[in-house]
């Protein structure tokens, strides 16, 4: 069972976003494996430990991704590929195209990834990849059972569970609750330093940067308005209700 994991590095979930010159500043920021991708890495390793095979982590992003890739290797992934050519960076369209190109050169039975990244939160890449590769796609898995060439997936649908079955190879994305990602052991960390990590560029992949140019354009980045303190209404219940309706209508403009 060879498993590929699509993995992205993101800000630690507790980081505060600071804008500098219209861009998100990366200064002094802690980077982590995107938490949903971490579930995917864990799941891949668990399946490998049971069924054998290899886990390959695939990422597209700047050099700093390497620290997170090493963490995934320390957890138990076997090798990794990092496309770190800035010419290939773009939007979800670009990423999916490049990743699909990388994947086409791999032998695989299953592809896992997070259902969404905690930074941009677009949640598009895995399904775009599935579209390009023309293989089945299931999102927000909370349980994955592989049985030979079939896979049964319990997926979270807004609090309910839907059970789906499909043939391999397929792409499945993980939801919180799928597993508890492991903490890398020291021997794992040491071994990870020697595991293969391949850096690929546009020419290695024989992709022309023009062919993966972003389909979207970033016009402006701004922070959400500051949260204002809540207001507690007082007085008779009837008056409170009246005031609330007025406020919702005139101030919040939602009614």
């Amino acid at each position: 069972m060879n498993i590929l994991v699509l993995m992205k590095q993101t800000f630690d979930t507790e980081e505060k976003i600071v804008l500098e010159d219209g861009k998100v500043s990366e200064e002094g920021v802690e980077f982590i494996i995107n938490p949903y991708d971490e579930y995917a890495v864990e799941e891949a390793i668990t399946i490998k430990e049971e069924l054998g095979g290899e886990v390959t982590v695939i990422s597209l992003g700047p050099d700093r991704f390497e620290s997170s890739i090493r963490t995934a290797l320390a957890m138990g992934a076997d090798k990794a590929i990092l496309v770190d050519d800035p010419d290939l960076f773009g939007d979800e369209y670009s990423v999916a195209k490049v990743l699909a190109k990388v994947i086409q050169d791999q032998s695989f039975d299953l592809i896992l990834g997070g259902y969404v990244a905690v930074d941009n939160g677009s949640g598009q890449v895995p399904q775009r990849v599935a579209e390009i590769l023309n293989i089945p796609f299931i999102s927000t898995a909370v349980k994955i059972e592989v049985d030979n060439s079939k896979v049964t997936v319990h997926r979270d649908v807004e609090g309910d569970t839907e059970i789906l079955e499909t043939n391999l190879p397929a792409i499945i994305t993980s939801q919180q609750g799928l597993n508890d990602p492991r903490y890398p052991s020291l021997p794992g960390i040491m071994k990870a330093k020697k595991k293969p990590l391949k850096h690929l560029s546009a020419s290695d992949l024989e992709i022309s940067p023009e062919s993966v140019q972003a389909k979207t354009e970033e016009i402006d980045i701004f922070l959400p308005p500051k949260k204002e303190a809540g207001r507690i209404l007082s007085g008779e219940l009837g008056e409170q209700a009246k005031e609330l309706i007025e406020l919702l209508h005139n101030e919040a403009k939602v009614l």
Binding site: D12, E14, E15, K16, E30, R182, Y183, S185, L186, P187
Partner: protein
């Protein structure tokens, strides 16, 4: 003729017993040597002092007065009665032999008194174990076997004494009160009968002594040898200092203890020193709250596993003799399986056929549940009369799980990740560490960057910086300190987590990183004195950081406040009319002997009535948060903090006072769980003090 037969029989039996004794002791020493050698601190004087207080003075035993006095009688009785034993054995060859001691009458009297005392002690011990059924004692027949040995040994002395009086036509004597009883019993029997009785008594005496000699190393009585060695070899440094791992050594592939031989030889001596008295387990908060962990069982299981595995990997040793009469097969599954296989395969392929019979230390001998239940409170160690060190063993097992295997509960993983990334257990943004100081307006709290003039560095700690309730302790302390005119500063957002929880959860690697970062910050700002509200940070700074280069003086806030009160720089004047019970923090009390400072502060406040809980000071029960347990869900059994809160509530206090943010959280959760948070306050000592200023 008979005389020579008797002598030859004596020699043969004695030689056999000595040989068996040598074999079984040798086996155990061989197993201890399977452990890793350890460099012990050289300080013969301190070590002899320990022998003086622990062995000669029986200090720890006397913590339990009743059992302690009983043991003192056993200990000294058994040693002193040896004089009479030697005399009796010679009597078997030289009739009527008397030891050449001055005032012989008083010698016999003293021996008879000793015999009487030991018999009384045996009766009392039997009573305590089987009739009073003291919970900490095991009620099996085996557990009390030693009483039979001792009792009959003493009887044989006075039986032979009495019959000798008949043989030599002595008069009843006040110097031989017990023998005289038997003299009356045997009075008037024929000489031959008297001789027969004498030799029955004499041989019983000899056989009991030799039997005991053989039995001793194969049972908990081995403590008579190993406890003395252990008292000599016990650690001399603070109990608050755990051993460190040298990560520079690149040869290592495994960290912590994953198999019994990974323990140090000293740690393995601990196992044979255990006398199964259960003092540890009777005080253990994990046991008391229904967890599977029992410190006594932990040691017994490790010991039996060592003997079991040792007998297999050191195949020329004889752990049990004669035959297997002292062996309980249940406790020695590896050796037993191998023996059974040897029978099944005629012994030929026994070794090969049973290689798979080895048990995993973690998982099969000791469960992970046990390993993660310890709060590292050291109540067991403090009680242990044979100086066993339980906590380091638990941490060594945790280190193996965390560092070597990467196996731990998700809460532990989360704690490590959070501390690694944001330097606090919740994973709150590290740039918010300093925010607590914006919530107070009346006092200026400078960072080390903002001022050069500070006497103390206030190490706020993760609890004091981020936890809403604990922040109030910090804020109270800074107000009191500035009132007293103390100049202090904080590291602000450069402060890192102290690493105490991390180390005690087994992550030595992350701990050392944090320690080194903190120390380099202390150095950078030329910190000479550190003050903290967190006893855990206090302990690790004071006892563990020096190994990594810290040179500053370290104080807990109660030490400083007590000193300021004594010097008159703080004057508690306003009356606080409250009944207070003070809960001792383990890391302040048992770890660092700070019992008086917090009490001095409380007693200096007018109006306060301090009421002690039944378990206070050295015997105080843990709140349940130590050893990183603060960050783990407590699912098994009842909650430790509720038990401790109940103990506090039995004093009918208005306020439960603590001197540790972890304890405070636990006690305040406890009062909430008991539904009394409206009636019973939970406050840090400094918060009570501030009320009075």
């Amino acid at each position: 003729m008979l005389y020579y037969l008797n002598f030859i029989a004596f020699l043969v039996v004695t030689a056999y017993a000595l040989w068996v004794f040598y074999k079984v002791i040798h086996a155990r020493i061989t197993y201890i040597k399977l452990g890793k050698p350890e460099k012990l601190e050289k300080n013969t004087k301190a070590r002899l002092k320990n022998i003086l207080s622990l062995v000669i003075g029986q200090k720890k035993l006397l913590k339990d007065k009743k059992s302690g006095i009983m043991h003192v009688i056993f200990f000294y009785g058994a040693i002193l009665v040896q004089a009479g034993t030697i005399e009796l054995i010679i009597k078997g060859f030289v009739h009527g032999f008397e030891l050449p001691v001055p005032y012989y009458n008083f010698f016999t009297l003293s021996q008879e008194i000793l015999v009487g005392l030991v018999i009384l002690a045996v009766i009392y011990a039997t009573y305590r174990r089987y009739i009073e059924k003291l919970p900490r004692l095991q009620q099996t027949f085996r557990a009390g076997l030693v009483y039979w040995f001792l009792g009959f040994l003493m009887l044989s002395i006075v039986v032979t004494g009495g019959v000798e009086m008949v043989l030599f036509n002595e008069e009843p004597s006040v110097y031989k009160p017990l023998s005289t009883l038997f003299f009356w019993l045997f009075e008037g029997v024929s000489e031959t009968t008297a001789y027969v009785i004498f030799y029955i008594g004499w041989w019983s005496h000899l056989l009991i002594i030799l039997g005991y000699l053989i039995y001793l190393p194969q049972h908990k009585q081995a403590h008579e040898i190993f406890a003395i060695i252990n008292s000599y070899l016990k650690r001399l440094h603070s109990p608050g200092k755990l051993s460190s791992i040298d990560f520079e050594d690149e040869e290592q592939e495994e960290f912590g203890v994953g198999k019994i031989e990974d323990f140090t030889q000293k740690q393995l001596i601990d196992l044979y020193a255990c006398v199964e008295c259960g003092r540890c387990t009777s005080m253990c908060p994990a046991t008391a709250s229904g967890k599977t962990l029992s410190p006594r069982e932990l040691i017994i299981k490790l010991r039996d596993h060592l003997t079991d595995k040792g007998s297999v990997i050191a195949p020329n040793t004889v752990p049990w003799a004669p035959g297997n009469i002292f062996k309980t097969p249940r406790n020695y599954p590896i050796a037993t399986a191998r023996q059974e296989a040897a029978v099944a395969t005629d012994g030929a392929n026994a070794l090969e056929s049973n290689i798979g019979a080895e048990l995993n230390l973690i998982g099969e001998v000791i469960t992970e549940q046990e390993i993660w239940a310890c709060t590292t409170c050291r109540n067991c160690e403090d009680q242990c009369p044979v100086s066993n060190e339980h906590v380091q063993k638990i941490i060594d097992l945790r280190r193996y799980l965390v560092l070597t295997m990467g196996e731990m509960r998700p809460e532990v993983t989360r704690t490590f990740n959070n501390i690694e990334r944001q330097s606090n257990p919740w994973g709150i943004n590290r740039k918010e560490r300093i925010n607590w100081r914006d919530e107070i307006e009346d006092v200026k709290v400078p960072t080390v960057k903002e001022t050069d003039e500070f006497e103390y560095l206030l190490f706020v700690g993760s609890m004091g910086s981020f936890d809403n309730r604990s922040k109030k302790i910090t804020q109270s302390l800074v107000r009191v300190l500035s009132k007293a005119g103390i100049k202090f500063a904080i590291l602000g957002n450069d402060e890192k987590n102290s690493g105490d929880s991390v180390r005690r959860l087994g992550n030595e690697y992350l701990y050392q990183e944090l320690a080194i970062e903190n120390i380099s910050n202390f150095r950078k700002y030329d910190v000479k004195k550190i003050i903290t509200i967190d006893p855990h940070a206090y302990n690790t700074f004071k006892n563990e950081y020096p190994e990594f280069g810290l040179e500053a003086e370290v104080y807990h806030h109660t030490e400083i406040l007590a000193k300021l009160i004594e010097e008159g720089r703080i004057k508690p004047e306003k009356e606080v009319k409250e009944t207070i019970t003070y809960h001792d923090s383990c890391y302040l009390g048992r770890y660092n002997d700070i019992y008086d400072a917090p009490r001095l502060i409380l007693n200096s406040i007018p109006g306060i009535e301090l009421k002690e809980m039944e378990r206070n000071r050295q015997d105080a029960m843990c709140c349940g948060a130590g050893g990183g347990m603060m960050w783990l869900e407590e699912k098994e059994g009842t909650r430790i903090n509720i038990l401790r809160t109940e103990q506090a509530l039995s004093c009918n206090p208005d306020t439960i006072a603590t001197a540790c943010p972890y304890c405070l959280t636990m006690m305040s959760d406890g009062t909430k769980a008991k539904g009394v948070e409206e009636e019973v306050n939970t406050l840090d000592v400094v918060e009570l003090l501030e009320k009075s200023l």
